[in-house]
């Protein structure tokens, strides 16, 4: 038992370099994994809305029609779940914390008109293709009673067996 056990250490502190950083003059250094804030590569975004559904604090809003991706930086808790869930990997977590501010604001991103047009075109093509496929299927089904045997034969061909129509 002794008094002033810590005096030596305390005195050392007087002559030691400070452990803190001279922050605004010296910029902060963040490790690569630091969860600062979310950024989006809006050109890769397909407005699927999975990030909106996965957000635990309801900070993200996706408008498919308008092609917007909207994040409330003050609601975002930087958990990184949307980054994990994004199917196109267009969301990234980057170092650097959200700056404080007097009021909450949204960070709105618009998809480019070309990207929207390209997607609309793609959708149109897909819709046409689907319609065509549906039509073909309907025609096939209508024909089906008469062509039951050839279909069976085709299947057998596909399996690599000699065509053998049943009942021969």
């Amino acid at each position: 038992m002794a008094i002033l056990r810590y005096a030596g250490e305390a005195l050392k502190n007087l002559f030691r370099k400070p452990v803190t950083r001279n922050y605004p003059a010296e910029p902060a250094v963040y490790p690569d994994r630091s969860r600062g804030h979310i950024e989006i590569d809006i050109d890769k975004c397909i407005s699927c809305g999975i990030c909106q559904m996965s957000c635990p604090s309801d900070a993200i809003k996706v408008d498919r029609k308008e092609g917007t991706w909207d994040i409330n930086r003050f609601d975002c808790v930087a958990c990184g779940y949307c980054v994990l869930k994004c199917p196109k990997k267009c969301l990234t977590m980057v170092p650097g914390y959200q700056e404080p501010g007097p009021e909450k604001y949204d960070d709105l991103h618009h998809r480019s008109a070309e990207a929207m047009a390209a997607e609309a075109e793609k959708k149109k093509q897909a819709a046409l293709k689907a319609a065509a496929a549906k039509k073909a299927l309907a025609a096939k089904e209508a024909k089906a009673p008469e062509t039951a045997k050839p279909v069976a034969a085709e299947n057998a061909d596909g399996a690599g067996k000699p065509a053998e129509t049943p009942g021969k």
Partner: protein, 359 residues
């Protein structure tokens, strides 16, 4: 007989990091009875369980508390994994242990700082938090957050600790161990510290057992109970002995926590040397159906996570019992007969985490 009077203590008090209110019935300078009262920071996190998908609930649960955040996430995913019969890969178990022990270290360093501040040792307070800063840097390096990890997911973890990071952790641990030694000397050997802590707020082993105390608070009274000994996650592969005290006074609670810092350093070193290669998570399909009560050892003691699910995306019920809640009963017992001047220190010795308790 002296006149009895009631003194309100808290919820705002210089020594309290979080709001708790106590009605202290005093006779002269002695406390005769203490009636605790909580409910100042209730946020209703448990009820979010039926409004949030069970996967994203992890991120809500771990935000219950800034200090034991990893443990809360771990307890929740453990309970859901048991319901869904998910076998977590070994590497993920070891990673969880490393993060949990880092969390324990930083919690205890924080407590040591607050304790030093409570008995008026400002210099020691800053010295403790200076060491803690290194642990927070390790958190940020490995998990991305300084306090909230967000690495747990159902079926494993979503970030791996690379070999370079392991080296960095080991290097920092060596430094931390060296820096904790002079702090330990100040806490354990200093005359003025001892005069504030020795023989203050004694809780016997029997009392600790009867009142259902847990964690370092109960260990200091000689209860050799540490839930890590049951070997959940990767603790079954690591060697450890629960640390206990003998007298059950404030001084023992202090030394138990300091020793647990060293124990955590040792456990992390063991885990890093034994960690296997392999996957860090397994894909999980389907919805949970059933109920489970998971228990884990948090820095403050044993926490209980009850989850009930019925095969839907949303859980039916989630309940979290925090160690502070269990220790409040012990606190009121230790306060009986204490000096009014010792009340702040006694409240701190249970390491109160009121925001956790109120959820």
């Amino acid at each position: 007989m002296a006149k009895r009077s009631v003194i309100p203590f808290g919820p705002q008090h210089p020594v309290l990091p979080e709001p708790i209110h106590l009605d202290l019935v005093i006779e002269d300078e002695k406390v005769v009875e203490a009636v605790p009262n909580i409910g100042f920071v209730h946020r209703g996190l448990e009820s979010l369980a039926d409004k949030r998908d069970f996967n994203k609930m992890v991120y809500v649960i771990e935000r219950t508390c800034g200090i034991c955040s990893f443990g809360h996430g771990l307890g929740y995913v453990e309970s859901v994994e048991h319901i869904m019969n998910v076998e977590v890969p070994d590497r993920a178990k070891f990673l969880r242990v490393i993060w949990a022990e880092l969390g324990r270290m930083h919690s205890h360093m924080l407590w040591m700082g607050l304790m030093a501040d409570a008995f008026g040792f400002e210099n020691l307070f800053y010295a403790c938090w200076r060491v803690r800063e290194k642990i927070l840097d390790l958190h940020e390096l490995t998990a991305g957050g300084r306090l909230i990890f967000s690495v747990n997911q159902i079926g494993g973890v979503n970030k791996d600790i690379t070999p370079e990071m392991m080296q960095q952790i080991l290097k920092s641990l060596d430094e931390i161990e060296e820096e904790v030694k002079p702090l330990e000397k100040a806490f354990v050997n200093d005359y003025s510290v001892q005069s504030r802590l020795k023989g203050v707020g004694v809780l016997t082993k029997q009392q600790a057992h009867d009142l259902g105390c847990c964690g370092p608070f109960a260990k200091a009274s000689g209860m050799s109970f540490d839930y890590r000994m049951t070997g959940y996650e990767a603790y079954k592969y690591l060697d450890m002995e629960p640390i206990t005290g003998t007298n059950g006074d404030s001084f023992d609670r202090c030394t138990v926590r300091i020793k647990e810092v060293y124990q955590s350093i040792d456990l992390i070193r063991q885990a890093i040397s034994k960690i296997p290669e392999g996957d860090i998570n397994v894909p999980v399909k389907g919805m949970p159906n059933g109920e489970y009560m998971a228990r884990i050892e948090q820095p403050r003691g044993e926490a209980i996570y009850y989850t009930k699910a019925s095969g839907k995306k949303y859980l039916d019920r989630f309940r979290l019992r925090t160690p502070t809640f269990a220790n409040l009963a012990g606190l009121t017992e230790t306060l009986k007969g204490a000096d009014l001047a010792d009340v702040p220190i006694l409240i701190l010795t249970i390491d109160p985490c009121i925001s956790c308790t109120e959820r």
